[in-house]
Amino acid sequence: MSVQQTPNGFSLDDSGQRVVVDPVTRIEGHMRCEVNVDENNIIRNAVSTGTMWRGLEVILRGRDPRDAWAFTQRICGVCTGTHALTSVRAVEDALNIQIPENANSIRNIMQLALQAHDHLVHFYHLHALDWVNPVNALKADPKATSELQQKVSPHHPLSSPGYFRDIQNRLKKFVESGQLGPFKNGYWTNPAYLLPPEADLMAVTHYLEALDFQKEISKIRAIFGGKDPHPNWLVGGVPCAINLDGVGSVGGLNMVNLNQVSAIIDQVRDFVNHVYVPDLLAIAGFYKGWTYGGGLASMNVLSYGDIPDRANDYSTENLMMPRGAIINGNLKQVHEVDLRDPEEIQEFVPHSWYKYPDESKGLHPWDGITEADFQLGAKTKGTKTDIREIDESAKYSWIKAPRWRGHAMEVGPLSRYIIGYAKGDKEITEQINFVLKTLDLPVTALFSTLGRTAARGLEAQWAADKMRYFMDKMMANIKAGDSSTANVESWDPETWPAETKGVGFTEAPRGALGHWIRIKDTRIANYQCVVPTTWNGSPRDQQGNIGAFEASLMNTKVERAEEPVEILRTLHSFDPCLACSTHVMSEDGQELAKVKVR
């Protein structure tokens, strides 16, 4: 090809210089990205490759469905709980198990805690350094930083000039000793960084505060799940009993534990409201002109919805996190989404390293096939073991291409917020309007990398408020005499039908997550996970539609091809999650990413 039109409206041109960004680490090398830039350094073709086979589906075959959650939560190093929750929901759906109200409240609080936790950690510890330049922070005037802090967040107590001076001195010591610590090897002289030194210093300071604060949130999972990391889950409810008068941890959840959760929820709300969201607004104010990265967001977005208000009701009306699909940017129409309908969600593999009997057709996950087929196209440069340039006209990724009614979709916080906004959800609309008004931006500004980053922060705020709602709801329910947390009526496999199937879904921090299960003779016959990054990181499909990552990079101007901070900025805004599987300590450290310009 030279220039090619995709059905979903993009013009791909692979004639320019190829830039390859590949985190080729042996340790967690799961994603690679190649783009072509034209003579003005504008991205004209983008190719996203998942470089590792997850294969979780196959190791679950033949196992007890009640155990599946324990395996699925080991898929990932961050979002363990959301996989476990999705798994128990799938099994409960298959076996028609109703869970108690308290179990629903506890699960929601754990899921919301994960949302807030993940968004916070993502922003400060993965994404912030795409916008914030810690080296530039050395030039800041601590007094002016203090004034800036008090202006952007008057209620945050840590704002004295002395405080910022101390942090700046710590930072200076890193730099003067020739080491930048966590900030080494950034592109700190790149003109893509736009913040004044004071804003950089404020943000770096909050990087440290966030790292310190985030530990509180995980205590919520430890209290409800018995331990953390890897809390316990239970098909039929939650594994913790409620015994308000109990003492210590032996008698289950007591008032001491519940008061602790309640206090943490208040701290999360304070941190998000007084640090995270003000930082977002302050940083976004300087990057208003950087409008790249929208990709599919202005066209096709999808959410399964989550956070059922009443237990066991997974209808759209009962889900507090909105469900729906928007096609071709028509915000006036939000389509219903049905995870059971074989015509809606289908996975395609013409460009994925999998084999189907007929690859012109997609398969619904209940009928999904996971059979590896690694082969490279004729135009590949390099070898199977050292791919220098991938051939995207052939199979080129370990990620399948899921489609909703044939459309490539973006999932994640921005999708959820666009759908909530289109549906007129009161809280979401108010949050979005507040941000747009503060920054003096039109609604179309949402469809961008920054919009994605902002939606994540707003959702952390929303999640913290909803944790309070479910905490209060559960306390009222317990006081009314209901302390039930699990329904074990269908625990015995002898009560199960010979064959059944189910689907469980959540909205994980990074987007729509579904597990589809088939149970035969009390064992797992087929298990398919479609994870958020399967949607966003999807390769091309049969028709040539590009996926969300690919679309988001298109037409972005890169200041320096050899320092593609813009590519990282946009990919990071999705909080990409590919199988996090292994880490082996090595003597010489790890190579995290290579950038090659060819």
Partner: protein, 249 residues
């Protein structure tokens, strides 16, 4: 955010916080060594309240808090030191690598080295640190358990930990009979059950990504990586000690 703490050797100080941490992925054969070691230790030993034994699994940045709170940290993990497969190796104190980088694609690339580096940056690095590692025999056996050669290293690895703690005045006592593993998650946390219920290879492919398997980049073996140029790793230790003593509050 840094703190001055009494030395571990100070007789008047309160009991040190001890964290015994196993990290790795149970689903990837010998990658599960660290987690299996702490499970075994948990089942066979009694320990005082100031000792915590934790399955850190594949968690990254969320473990920073745990490391910061520890005065004495023992980590069990699979290591790649280019040793002959199945070799047990102890790495102590400053010799434990801690590197960190920013050009990550995914948050999940936070390896344990980065956890250590972040803890150090926050000024709360453990005073005593021991990494008990084993060079894996087999990693690319998805859904598999520990290789027999690695499994036999669990006992000696635990003995090393007990001896190290004993030097620090922390007493662990062996039980007559082991406690049973957590019933709720026993499909995975009970190694015998995990192995027994594994689907046969014709039903469930056990190999990972062929590209990963064949590539020299992915081979478990000694592969020096330059810390200059495009590699994004850095050690933080020496200068931070100086820094800590100056800013202790």
């Amino acid at each position: 955010m840094s703190s001055t703490r009494p030395s571990v050797n100070d007789v008047n100080r309160p009991q040190p916080n001890v964290l015994i941490l196993g990290i790795g992925n149970l689903l990837w054969a010998d990658e599960g060594f660290g987690v299996r070691a702490v499970e075994t230790l948990q089942q066979w030993y009694r320990y005082p309240d100031h000792v915590r034994v934790m399955d850190g699994g594949t968690q990254g940045v969320y473990l920073v808090q745990e490391v910061r709170e520890a005065d004495i940290l023992i980590v069990f993990d699979a290591i790649d030191y280019g040793l002959s497969p199945g070799t047990l190796k102890l790495i102590e104190g400053e010799a434990v690598p801690k590197y960190l980088g920013v050009k990550k694609i995914s948050l999940h690339q936070t390896g344990f080295q980065e956890v250590l580096a972040l803890a150090e940056m926050m000024g709360d690095y453990p005073e005593k640190l021991l990494l008990i590692g084993v060079q894996p025999v087999e990693i690319e056996d998805f859904g598999g358990s520990l290789h027999p050669k690695v499994k036999t290293k669990i006992g000696p690895a635990i003995e090393q930990a007990i001896a190290f703690l004993s030097e620090q005045g922390v007493v662990m006592s062996r039980r007559e009979k082991p406690m049973t593993s957590d019933i709720l998650s026993s499909a995975i946390s009970d190694m015998t059950r995990y192995e027994h219920e594994r689907p046969p290879p014709e039903q469930a492919c056990r190999l990972g990504d062929e590209r990963v398997l064949l590539s020299g980049d992915y081979q478990v073996g000694h592969r020096p990586v330059s810390l200059e140029g495009s590699a994004m790793s850095v050690g933080l230790d020496q200068h931070l000690n100086k820094y800590r003593s100056q800013s202790g509050s």
